[in-house]
């Protein structure tokens, strides 16, 4: 399979051509090399996982895709064009949304309001218009609310619609965060450790939601995850990183049988 081709998954979905391509990315913080010469691509409609042990550079990689970090070397192609250095909000306007490893919600606001903030990139009326509550602002609010309600229904969080998120258990907060990212109608969704700190049942729920998002909305998903079991179950293709380098790339079964990956995860004896 060449990098730009579409392909068929074992369960019969057709994955489109690539939407994002990393070419020889290197990222350094002073003398520390976080990412070293990594290249991979993300195809349209696929679930792409980035895995690796602690400190492998996974979150840095996500932050590069997200535009939060600018790599010293290499280039990023998004929808076939080389991406210029951008601010995170500019990237949000390009249709890339994300969730965070340590939940970054507005704790004092309700679930509904938090998810509404995700609609920001789709608001056309300015602050002034909203203050005077013009007809256009009202219509827009109603449309956005309707969209958000569909997400609430999708994620089955109707019960906590009006609850301040600070009062919610961890697993639900993660779900609200996913909701906020979905509210932006992203074409590429980045999930930073969506299952971290969850129990088995919450992981199963979250996996189902991720698969359903991919299935229902056709959203391309790139996710970082620690839990190998989950990744192997839901991802179409996996990039494995270790010490800032790419040590494996392919379908879950290919990766699972890759000796370098096994060594990185299980350790290797130095004799």
């Amino acid at each position: 399979m060449t990098a730009t081709d579409s392909y068929q998954t074992p369960d019969g979905r057709t994955i489109g051509p690539n939407v994002m391509e990393m070419r020889n990315i290197s990222l350094r913080f002073g003398g520390v090399t976080a990412i070293q010469d990594i290249s991979f691509d993300i195809h349209e409609g696929e679930i792409r996982a980035i895995i690796g042990p602690n400190g492998a550079g996974k979150s840095s990689m996500l932050n590069v895709i997200n535009g939060f970090y600018h790599p010293q070397e290499g280039e990023i192609l998004y929808k076939g064009e080389v991406r210029k250095p951008m601010k995170p909000y500019e990237i949000a306007y390009q249709g890339i949304a994300r969730t965070f490893q340590n939940i970054a919600l507005f704790k004092g606001m309700s679930t509904l309001d938090n998810i509404m903030t995700g609609r920001l990139t789709h608001m056309k009326t300015g602050m002034l218009e909203q203050i005077v509550w013009s007809g256009r602002a009202e219509r827009e609010e109603v449309e956005n609310r309707a969209f958000v309600e569909h997400i609430i229904d999708f994620l089955e969080i109707q019960t906590i619609r009006k609850t301040p998120v600070g009062r919610l258990p961890y697993g639900l907060q993660k779900r609200v965060e996913l909701g906020r990212a979905l509210a932006a109608e992203p074409s590429l969704l980045l999930l930073d450790e969506p299952m971290a700190g969850m129990n088995v049942e919450e992981k199963e729920d979250m996996s189902r939601f991720i698969l359903d998002v991919n299935d229902e909305f056709g959203t391309t998903i790139a996710l970082i995850e620690h839990d190998m079991g989950v990744v192997m179950d839901i991802a179409d293709r996996v990039v494995v990183m270790d010490y800032g380098k790419k040590i494996g790339d392919g379908t879950p079964s290919e990766v699972r049988n890759n000796q370098d990956v096994i060594d990185a995860y299980l350790g290797v004896s130095h004799d």
Binding site: D11, G12, R13, R145, A146, E149, H150, I152, D153, F154, E156, Q158, T159, R161, R208, L211, D212, D215, E216
Partner: protein
Amino acid sequence: MAASKSEKSTFASIPELVAFHALNIPNSPAYREKEYGIWQSWSWSEAAEEIDALALGFLTLGVAKGDYIAIIGRNRPHFYWSMIAAQSVGAIPVPVYQDAVAEELVYVLDHCGAKFVLAENQEQVDKVLEIKKDLKALEHIIFLDNRGMRKYDRANLHDFRDLQNKGRNSEKKFAKTMASRRKAIKSSDTCVMLYTSGTTGRPKGVILSNHNIIKTSEASSSFDLLNASDDVLAYLPMAWVGDFIFSIGQACWTGFCVSCPENIETMQQDLKEIGPTYFFAPPRYFEGLLTNVMIRMEDASAVKRFLFSYFMAHAQKIGGNLLDGHSVSVIDKLKYAIGQLFIYGPLRNTLGLSNVRVGYTAGEAIGPEIFDFYRSIGINLKQLYGQTEASVYITQQPDGQVRSDTVGIASPGVELKISDSGEVFYRSPGTFVEYFKNPKSTKETKDAEGWVATGDAGFIEADTGHLRIIDRAKDVGKMEDGRLFAPKYVENKLKFFPNVLECVVFGAGRKFCTAFINIDLNAVGNWAERNNIAYSSYQELAGHKNVYEMIKDHINETNESLADDDMLSGCQIHRFVILHKELDADDGELTRTRKVRRRVIEDKFHNLINALYDGSSEVYTETEVTYEDGAKGAISATLAIADVKPVVQKGKAA
């Protein structure tokens, strides 16, 4: 131009009633459902159109007369329409408990030979597909929520709304068939088949005819003056006969609106928004609600707590009398009105029960304090007694004659009799036709004259005509000296104490009664915290001597009230033990609906029972437990046995 009641009485089927309302009150709301945060509503004419579209859709799939259509899902307008649409084409709806596991589902779907299954969502579809190989009759599955269904093979799988559209498009072809099938429905035809939950053995399919449902709905609606302006919230399982009578029978008879909650967890919030005028809930619902109120009051400010206790005491005194229409002094009325403004009104509103005109509870005994609490704040809560085989109603309490210890007088049209053995029998227009494919059980339950055995023992109070239920007939026994032994009656009295979660009373054929007690970890744990009692496990708390003292007080109180009862004074508890583990359905000690399985418990804990009767003061025991994941383990403990001095019956003092 509403037609007169007499005209309605000639209708033979539910679809006819729907057509009647669609013609007479086309714009009144018939169904509501909260979705996407908003109450969506359908008027009677819109509902009739939805039902027609689905009925036509059924015809495109080849639904034949007499086919069984199973419905698996939570309360949603679409499923109510499905039942009426099924009837419209001569098929028989079979609502099934949505939380049934695959194994239970196989039995029911295979037993009725369902050709069509309506499933709510992917979860239910998966469950049906999993057992499909065991269901020879199954032809088509129709699902309502298309989420996650994209990748399924659609050969025999249909989207509910697509099917409706298909029906709309083939109206020309099938409209005549639908009309003629609708016209052909006789009042003796099956209206619905409901599977009883089956505490003993396999579930039985109870066949209820159109006559059963319509006559029962007519009688019960006029009993409580239900009318088109009433509102109900449909949140109880659709497979339960009560929901069918309330949300289909009475709704279609009177034309009131049925509202469905957004999902099961939001029920309380939705209840508050709808403010139903007619409401049913099982006793444990009212119990839970009251506990919540009390916990929140404990956290409230001192002023609020004072106001609450002051006005609640007043309400206890006269609230019930006001509801029953007894005379109350002007000053008390005035005080109640002030309480109404500050306490009762806001409280009713918070509970979502502001508008309740008729409230019912049934299924289990309700604690008198709980019952009185709701009545005292002005909620007309009443009790009824019924079962699936009777199309719900056997007895119910008329306004003005409400008491916590009876289940009321015979419902309109119902005849009652008590057999020599004390079992309650009834005969009514609602009496079921038969058990499906089970003539043996039918014969055992219903005799040639139409009298149906309830399986409950009870008696009719001579002066008021109210029925009092004592216990399940098969559990009622005699003690060694021939006095009546009714375990559940005693157990219910004990369970009204918040500290007692569960208890089992023994005494059949014995000299005296004894009991197993399960403490309620929440209530007792809370009490322990307040009293500075340290404990590290359930077992340790259960064995604590202060807990024993507390339970002993409860039993003393129970004994006192039993001593006042001529028939049941023999059931006083002499000795008891607090169990070291909670009785659990996973261990087979309770049914899934949390009813005690006496035989199992007697078997499993026979050494404890022996110790209760042989006079020992403690006993060592080892018990097998099943964890939630199915793994087994054992716990052992030495349990103390406590003695209680029985109360001597008045007038019989030795």
